[in-house]
Symmetry: C2
Subunit: 162 residues, 2 copies
Amino acid sequence: MAFLLRELPDRALLEEFAGEFTHLDVDATLAYLRLLRLGSEMLDGLDRFLAGEDMTHGRWLTLVVLHRSGGRLLPSELAEKQGVTRATMTGLLTKLVDRGLVERELDDRDGRREAAVLTATGRRFVRRVLPKVYRHINAELAPLSPKDRRALARVLNKLIDP
Amino acid sequence: MAFLLRELPDRALLEEFAGEFTHLDVDATLAYLRLLRLGSEMLDGLDRFLAGEDMTHGRWLTLVVLHRSGGRLLPSELAEKQGVTRATMTGLLTKLVDRGLVERELDDRDGRREAAVLTATGRRFVRRVLPKVYRHINAELAPLSPKDRRALARVLNKLIDP
DNA sequence: GGCTATTAGTTAGCCGGCTAACATGTATCC
DNA sequence: GGATACATGTTAGCCGGCTAACTAATAGCC
């Protein structure tokens, strides 16, 4: 799911279109298209970066969520927190288990539950790679001044928490 | 490629992490995570909206780029403008041709080239659906004031055109 | 205590990207 | 003008999401 429109319309072009097409709000459309484009681009960038650690953003997020939650969660809880389906989480966990970063532990009181547990190796991996990720993030946002970063975070939050 | 982290860390949590992990810039990380999350969420929303027109964002973008360019482009040009590979464009065009929205026209001067041409049906489709898309965009950005929209568009542009 | 509904996890198969390898046609250069 | 390089588009096969359908286990209700 990538949206990497290279040739985004500029304000002048959109204002021209606004005469032809109804409902066109130039500022909304500009912001929207740039948001989609940058979101995809940054996600692509994250995946290219994580490939150097033989990792994908999906599995990485699972590790980070697990780490942040004390290292033990049910697959359904992980799926909910991460925003993927349980089916997808099954696949993510299987690959993390194959790599020895996570283990599955059956609940002896409820046979349906099988918690995902971060292994020592998994914990080391997160602690080793997290600083690199933060550096990657800083590099991605380097063109913005500290003030712009705060403004961006603040405005985006209004869309998340209206 | 979705990044829909439901449970984004807040400022307080990141500040706590900043003590533990080096290289962590709280504002950069907040903005970055929200950007990824919203980009994925909006792209998902666009796909859900377009599904009502039996359309996907990939094919829709191809139609719009074609429309904006006068209705005739080479697949390689389309791929470049849209930010997908030529291989992906082959698939997108095949589906649009199947639906009668686009036709392929062999170049009689260069046998390698086979331009994609918007049909009358394709043109009508774009003119019919574009206003709905603009309304969708307005609805997505409704939580933002006009001032916030301008600020968002301006800051994002610094990341696209540093 | 035994149907029934619900919950947890998995499996199967789809979809839209990707890369790599492949025709096929054109350009270049000796 | 023929070998070689390059450009265009397609194919084959991978990957990470998804939905829908399934199994297994628990909970609830009569």
